[in-house]
């Protein structure tokens, strides 16, 4: 299992796994582009969140704000400049980075639960403002959309298309599978950067802050700039994810900034395993998969699924499972989440490691742990 240890090996495996997702996810009903795009986007979001929470241990409850800001910025770029996705993404990342710097600068004066509350307060502020006063910028409740009359300065010079244009990468339309592959490539790049960060001296400092901030300070590190940098990087990842959301579907709404959305990314990171590299992506995939698959079940599909059982048994099984799927899939999510925190505090990745060591596989040390 040495392959997981070298960076190149890890990147190759990760790249192959991500790019072939449409193939190996098809049998479990997840092989369609919309869902795959979500996997990639939320994977990116969770990777970024993990740089903050996993490495430094600071629990931010306001990360969805950066996601929302990224979305708005990207849609504005579509509206004003061009339908090409690159400027949009750049714009989204820069905007959310700036916001992250401002919020982080203030919030990082406190730690622990006070930091969580501060970030939560900022995120709720942005959400409420986007919903009400900033309507000229955010289009309030309706959400920011493209219209035919948008200026699109750069595009106008080149083409004079009629109708509502779609997002493109130099002419390649960003819907369906091409959209997914674009997100996937960004995800892979993002993953590589995160890998480099967590194995760099900078990443080591962040881990040092997590295990004992006071000691780090006595060693002579001024931890604050490191924290702010981590916060900004993590916010930029969120902005990137947000702008990718706008790329796949050019619409930005305030609900992306609500605290439940922040909670979701916390769930993803924890579920997969905070502090690991692959964990957050895995967690994001799991949650989005459950959301899409389980919520699609209804009585009929359940009866079909268990039709191999005898009639009485079938009805019984369906009656038991019914509350957990369809509209009730949150119940499933909550239960799963509790079980993981109670029995597997390190998330799914930790669980995999444990199984590995238990069955005495030849890998000397769990590969991914504490990366």
């Amino acid at each position: 299992m040495n392959i997981m240890k070298s960076e190149i090996g890890m990147m190759v495996v990760f790249t192959i796994v991500i790019l072939t997702m449409p193939l190996w996810l098809a049998p479990i009903g997840a092989g369609y582009p919309d869902l795959l795009q979500k996997f990639a986007i939320f994977g990116l979001f969770a990777i970024g969140y993990n740089i903050l929470f996993g490495l430094t241990g600071y629990l931010s409850f306001g990360h969805a704000a950066f996601l929302g800001i990224g979305s708005y910025a990207a849609v504005w770029s579509f509206k004003l400049l061009t339908m090409n996705v690159l400027p949009a993404i750049l714009f989204g990342v820069v905007c959310s980075g700036i916001f992250a710097f401002c919020i982080g600068y203030v919030s990082l004066r406190r730690s622990g639960i006070y930091f969580s509350i501060l970030t939560l307060a900022f995120a709720q502020m942005s959400y409420n403002l986007a919903y009400s006063v900033l309507t000229p910028i955010t289009n309030g409740e309706t959400g920011l959309q493209l219209t035919i009359n948008d200026p699109r300065i750069l595009d106008a010079a080149v083409t004079s298309a009629t109708g509502l244009p779609s997002t493109t990468l130099f002419g390649l339309s960003m819907s369906g599978y091409s959209g997914f592959y674009f997100c996937a490539v960004v995800l892979i790049i993002g993953f590589f950067i995160a890998l480099r960060i967590s194995r760099s001296p900078f990443g080591l400092v962040l881990k040092g802050i997590k295990s004992n901030q006071t000691r780090m300070k006595y060693t002579g590190f001024n931890t604050r700039p490191y924290m702010i940098t981590a916060f900004v990087i993590s916010g930029m990842y969120a902005g990137l994810a947000g702008s990718l959301m706008a790329v796949t579907d050019p619409l930005a709404g305030a609900e992306r900034m609500q605290w439940t959305a922040s909670g979701e990314v916390v769930l993803m990171t924890i579920l997969g395993g905070a502090g690991t590299l692959v964990g957050p992506v895995l967690g994001a995939g799991l949650i989005k998969y459950f959301e899409n698959i389980f919520s699609a079940f209804n009585d009929k599909s359940l009866h079909e699924l268990f039709s191999f059982l005898p009639e009485i048994l079938e009805n019984g099984v369906v009656a038991i499972i019914r509350p957990f799927v369809g509209e009730g899939w949150h119940l499933m999510l909550g239960l799963l989440f509790m079980l993981i925190i109670i029995f597997l505090p390190g998330g799914v990745m930790k669980g995999i490691d444990r199984i590995k060591t238990k069955f005495g596989s030849k890998s000397e040390k769990p590969a991914e742990q504490s990366e």
């Binding site: 006070y114 409420n128 439940t260 924890i270 925190i341």
Partner: protein, 232 residues
């Protein structure tokens, strides 16, 4: 509510005293999702309109009562709610401040191992306190029902607010929580006045969080937080 609270503590929460705050928050959050979904499955997703008992319907004419003309009217139920909450508040405060039980709990908050070593079963007292907390929250919910028809996610709407209020007030300080509650509530009402809204558009939306941020930056432990409680 007492029973549910007790069961929750016994079954789940007590295993988390030793873990980090983040994990405590997360596991209770997960539990909240589960309970919320169970409620939704049983009672449906629509709000259930509930009216106050007939005997207290209608409004009180406070203005006339105080001799200020009849400009000030206030629904009876809200007055009752106010009185009731003040009573509960006094009760909880007295319980924590003046009884031996409350003293032990407060001591346990500071240094639970020490209190344990003194031969007092802190675990059980914490269980009871958790149950009491559930009772108080449940009472608030019952009394609030006529004002806002309850639906299954009513808890989530209040969760964030009460979280902010407690932290702003200062962890481990009942007085702080009350003060912060009143402060934020009153500020929110002021900010909703048209005069102020026209001066600072949107202020009513963010005032609570704005004040929370300022308070936490000026007073790191909240309004009345004491040293040594919930420090990381």
């Amino acid at each position: 509510m007492l029973l549910i609270g007790l069961a929750m503590e016994r079954g789940l929460i007590r295993h988390f005293y030793k873990r980090t705050h983040a994990e405590q928050i997360l596991v209770t959050f997960g539990l909240a999702i589960v309970i919320q979904e169970i409620i939704k499955a049983n009672f449906g997703a629509n709000p259930i309109p509930t009216s106050a008992p007939d005997i207290v319907a209608g409004s009180a004419n406070i203005g006339t009562f105080l001799g200020l003309g009849d400009a000030i009217v206030y629904p009876w139920w809200r007055l009752i709610y106010l009185t009731f909450s003040l009573m509960i508040l006094g009760g909880v405060f007295a319980f924590l401040q003046f009884t031996t039980f409350g003293m032990v709990v407060r001591a346990g908050m500071h240094d639970r191992d020490m209190v344990n070593l003194l031969g007092i079963n802190v675990e059980r007292r914490f269980t009871i306190v958790f149950g009491l907390a559930a009772v108080v929250a449940g009472l608030a919910g019952v009394m609030y029902a006529p004002i806002l028809p309850p639906d299954y996610h009513i808890g989530m709407d209040f969760l964030v607010l009460s979280f902010v209020v407690v932290v702003v007030g200062g962890m481990g300080s009942l007085g702080g929580a009350v003060a912060a509650g009143f402060l934020l509530g009153i500020l929110q009402s002021f900010a909703s006045m048209n005069e102020i809204k026209s001066l600072f558009p949107g202020i009513d939306q963010i005032i609570i969080y704005l004040v929370a941020v300022v308070i936490l930056l000026v007073r790191p432990r909240g309004l009345m937080g004491r040293k040594g409680v919930m420090e990381d």
